[in-house]
């Protein structure tokens, strides 16, 4: 399941979408908005997507994970619009027969999403707002 939503991400629904009687484990990554960024206090975040391409790239990531690992299901859901501190902006879940594959594939999906999916984050500070610039590795 690959989706971009404007409402809070429904995590129980995602877990349900991953269920498979032959799965022994699910790894779920929940990206949440942090109250600080590069030393400044963040009040809220706003995400924008180039929708058709973002969905296309997310589907390619999910398909790629299925090719690289022996997994059962994979779901990638990103929220756009305003996301308050502590709320989930992205949720990625992978079910697999063995946990190693679930962990590795989930990690691959979030790492790749952050590099290629055309979604942009604007940070709102006390004294202004700014689009996030070129990033290093683990943001």
């Amino acid at each position: 399941m690959v989706r971009i939503v404007t409402e809070p991400i429904d995590i129980p629904m995602i877990l349900e979408s991953l269920g498979d009687p032959s799965a022994g484990g699910i790894d779920l990554f929940v990206g949440t908005t942090r109250n600080h960024s590069r030393g400044k206090k963040v009040l809220a975040l706003e995400y924008e997507a180039y929708l058709p391409m973002a969905l296309n790239q997310m589907q390619e990531i999910a398909d790629g994970a299925r090719k690289k690992w022996d997994i059962r299901n994979v779901s990638i859901v990103h929220r756009i619009g305003r996301v308050d501190i502590g709320e989930a902006s992205v949720v990625i879940g992978v079910s697999a027969t063995h946990r190693n594959e679930a962990f590795e594939a989930c990690r691959y999906c979030i790492d790749t999403l952050k590099k290629v999916v055309p979604i942009w984050k604007k940070e709102f500070f006390v004294d202004g707002e700014a689009w996030v610039g070129p990033q290093g590795g683990d943001q």
Binding site: V117, W120, K121, W131, G133
Partner: protein
């Protein structure tokens, strides 16, 4: 000359002040020629130039790809989803 449609997002759209435009480019222009023409028209994009990627039909394309009449190129500033 060929006409290429350009879509702008996020910081690129804000700096250019518009979401879409059409650029006239010499025949056989490449993706990097398009970016040069875009930055020439909107100099505020200069500092982001080396970070801009381009996409055609929802796929990233390399900077030496040759553009054709009617192509719709998306300008992708550094992504920051997740």
């Amino acid at each position: 000359m060929i006409a290429v449609n350009v879509k702008l997002f996020a910081v690129a759209r804000d700096l250019a002040g518009r979401e879409e435009l059409t650029l006239s480019l010499p025949r056989e222009s490449s993706v990097s020629d398009l970016v040069e023409a875009l930055v020439h028209r909107y100099p505020r994009l200069e500092e982001w130039k080396r970070y801009l990627r381009c996409a055609l039909n929802h796929q990233y394309i390399s900077s030496d790809q040759i553009l054709r009449e009617g192509d719709e190129v998306a300008i992708i500033p550094p992504v920051s989803g997740g």
